[in-house]
């Protein structure tokens, strides 16, 4: 559809673009990326025919751009800029009608019936039909941009060029516009070439990305190949971390922040612990990165409050998340910054202890009982009734962990839990086999992400060994405490 062959352009002595070669297929959505001064605006002007290349050729539908008449070109290629300034106050319909210019013939200046149909459908698709008699000056930035998009559509183009079209739009308009473009490119074969400032937006919507660097093409490939940490660092000169979009398989780059020395180097330990009959809480000044299962804040996230709340064995609430939320608010914890779980175990049986593994210290907090034990391997034989968890293990690590290390710590902790139960000869009453846990156990691994970096957390690493040891000993301590108290209680009753 569009093919650039060795395009070069320079302003005087300054080379703006050198040997740019790429092509765009029909129905493709191509994003052009690059830092300021990388030449992307000039490339855009070359494609839209505003400036003429010093060397190289540009082909549109197999024909040289220089061979097109202005009107013919405008029947194929339509352009939307960041912002258009209008010198006079036209009505929306008048502006959209101007999109038909390239298709109007002869001296008569009226609009044909076909023109009018195209104009109306362009206004409908962009949702501005009800504005048709409104003056453009009365509209907001986002609405104006839609009017100009409608003007482009009225051109009935095969290629749509856009220069940072979302620049002045708020979030919902950005999404709306890009979704419309995506839909048109997929459903009608509209070819879209778009300059992006926002790498993540480009990653979400484009089929292919062209990354410009120092007036040359640095990368021309699938978004996930282009948005690599090292490439972006090279081109933009700043550190980024590549995360994943939580919903779709698209790269999501985030800026990497340098640690400020003013940040508190906090060691999580007993000083952070609050014990009461109703809940155990760990409160920190800086948020910890945590991987957890539970009711609130489960999954991966950053949290400052960690709550293990005692509930009665017969706790039953349909909307337990909402109920927990209310509970947290009532007790002064911000739900968005909290990991919260439940236990039916009496909190006086809580066990906790700090361990040192090299430069990294770990703090464990466990509440446990062996009521309702189960063998996970034979779970099919159990009912699916949810009862509040009985073994809740918290591991706080004063160090920096990779996501892999988080997962490995969680594995180590779980394996150790099963081992503790086996050593205490706890069996699954339903199957008669050794129990591995209870159906509603929860786990939390949280790290300060400061201090020594641990890439691995498996049980042959120092970190993994410390996790295994800590879980084993503190869980045993918790179970012993409970047993001792129960025995004492029974004795007292006799």
């Amino acid at each position: 559809m569009l093919e650039a062959k060795k395009l070069s352009f320079q302003y005087g002595e300054k080379k703006v673009l050198t040997d740019i070669t790429f092509s765009v297929q029909k129905g493709e959505m191509l994003g052009i990326l690059g830092p300021n001064g990388s030449g992307k605006t000039t490339l855009f002007k070359l494609i839209s025919g505003i400036v003429i290349p010093n060397a190289g050729e540009l082909f549109i539908k197999g024909r040289k751009v220089s061979e097109y008449k202005q009107k013919e070109f405008a029947q194929i290629v339509s352009t939307l800029s960041q912002q258009t300034a209008e010198a006079f106050s036209y009505t929306v319909e008048e502006i959209v009608s101007m999109g038909r210019y390239a298709h109007q013939k002869g001296w008569m200046q009226g609009l044909s019936r076909e023109d009018k149909a195209v104009i109306h459908s362009a206004m409908e698709q962009t949702g501005i039909s009800h504005y048709s008699n409104t003056l453009i000056g009365e509209l907001s930035g986002g609405e104006k941009q839609r009017v100009y998009l409608a003007q482009c559509l009225a051109q009935e183009p095969e290629i749509l060029l856009l220069d940072e079209p979302t620049n002045h739009l708020d979030l919902s308009f950005q999404k709306e516009l890009l979704e419309l473009l995506k839909e048109w490119s997929k459903k009608r074969g509209l070819t879209v070439v778009c300059i992006f400032h926002d790498l993540n937006l480009a990653s979400l919507y484009c089929d292919r990305l062209l990354l410009l660097h120092n007036s040359e093409i640095e990368a021309d490939s699938h978004p996930r190949n282009v948005l690599q940490e090292d490439k972006i660092k090279k081109v933009y000169g700043t550190d980024v971390i590549r995360a994943q979009h939580p919903q779709v398989p698209a790269a999501n780059l985030v800026l990497s922040l340098r640690e400020s020395s003013a940040d508190l180097q906090e060691e999580v330990g007993e000083a952070n612990l609050t014990l009461s009959k109703e809940y155990i809480a760990i409160t920190t000044d800086i948020p910890l990165k945590s991987l957890s299962s539970g009711v609130t804040g489960a999954g991966i996230g950053w949290h400052k409050y960690f709550i293990n709340r005692h509930v009665n064995k017969d706790y039953n609430c349909d909307d337990y998340k909402m109920e927990m939320n209310d509970y947290l608010v009532k007790n002064g914890f911000l739900p968005s910054e909290t990991v919260a779980m439940m236990t039916a175990v009496e909190l006086e049986d809580t066990a906790y202890r700090k361990y040192q593994a090299g430069a990294t210290s770990l703090f464990f907090v466990v509440t446990a009982s062996v009521g309702n034990p189960a063998d996970a391997a034979l779970s099919e034989q159990h009912s699916s009734l949810i009862v509040p968890g009985t073994i809740n293990i918290w591991i706080f690590i004063n160090g920096e962990l990779s996501e892999q290390a988080f997962l490995q710590c969680a594995m180590t902790a779980t394996e150790t839990k099963a081992s503790v139960l086996r050593n205490r000869q706890v069996t699954d009453p339903a199957t008669g086999t050794p129990a591995t846990g209870t159906p509603t156990d929860s786990l939390l691994v949280a790290a300060t992400q400061k201090g020594k970096f641990h890439e691995f957390g498996g049980n042959i690493t120092d970190l993994g060994k410390a996790v295994a040891k800590g879980v084993y000993e503190v869980m045993t301590m918790a179970l012993d405490k409970r047993q001792n108290r129960k025995t004492a209680l029974e004795r007292g009753m006799k």
Binding site: Q70, E86, T91, Q104, Q109, N133, Q151
Partner: protein, 343 residues
Amino acid sequence: MYLNKTKAAYFLAAFFLIIALFLGISIGTVSVSFLTIIKIFINSVSHTEVFTVDTMQANIVSNIRLPRVILAGLVGASLAIAGCAFQGLLRNPLADPYTLGVSSGASVGAVATLFFHITIPFLGSYTLPVLSIVTAFLTVFLVLLFAKKLDPAMKVETIILTGIIFSSFLGAFISLLIALTGDELRQIIGWLLGSVSMRGWTYIQMFLPFFIIGCLILLLQGRELNILAFGEERAQHLGVQVRFRKMTIILAGSMLTGAAVAVSGTIGFVGLVIPHLVRIVAGSNHRHVLPLSIFVGSGFLILADLLARSIISPAELPIGVITALSGAPVFAILLLNYRKKGR
């Protein structure tokens, strides 16, 4: 609703022009009633004595008032439509034909003709208007050439700036010529401030071809002018041959302005104010603003001329005094509103 508004604007403009025409012909040292005017028209169109009319009145109407009113109307129309086109092209609602230096250029030609008593063979008394148009063209070409040297893309801002530089320079040049003249001073000053008196039918004949060609060309640029209002790049994206259209509009506009300056001197504010008034009533669509400016501009200048010759009758004021006295305050008000709207 929108269409009706446009129709109403055309109706109003035509009505305004007709009333101005009748008033212009009717009022003077000898007043002629509207009915008599209609009778004289019918007689002259049918070339027979359908109605009996006083001969003196018929003579005054046919040979003095009518040519004067028509010339005023044509000049007003030219200045207004040229102003409208320049404003659209330069994307500046505050621009006017004078911004490009066209009018100063034409004045130089005219003043030089008067000062040096130039008579080109075969042109005779037509030397003055022809030379004015030629110098107007020359000035525009020089302005464009200079602007192109400054900025190969010929941005609107560059053109305006160059036009202003040329205007000031040529203005000073005219002052110099006037200072050197002596006894011709009054004639030149009178001419500079503009007048349509004692021109007769010959001037109309002289002016008409330029008027018709210029207006036709400009009327056909309505769509392009509309699109050019969004900037030259946007216009090109939409399929307008920007350079060609820009040249066409500038040439046609200078032809109209140059011819008008030649026959009536420099009459200010018509080209600036009339398109504005039209836009307020009819919106910004040039396909309507251009023809409406013709109607309103001619009506306006006919009335201005009427005032110019009535206020201190039997003496006459230069018509430029009237247009400046009425146009400048109106323009000041427009400017204030424009600023208030924030654009």
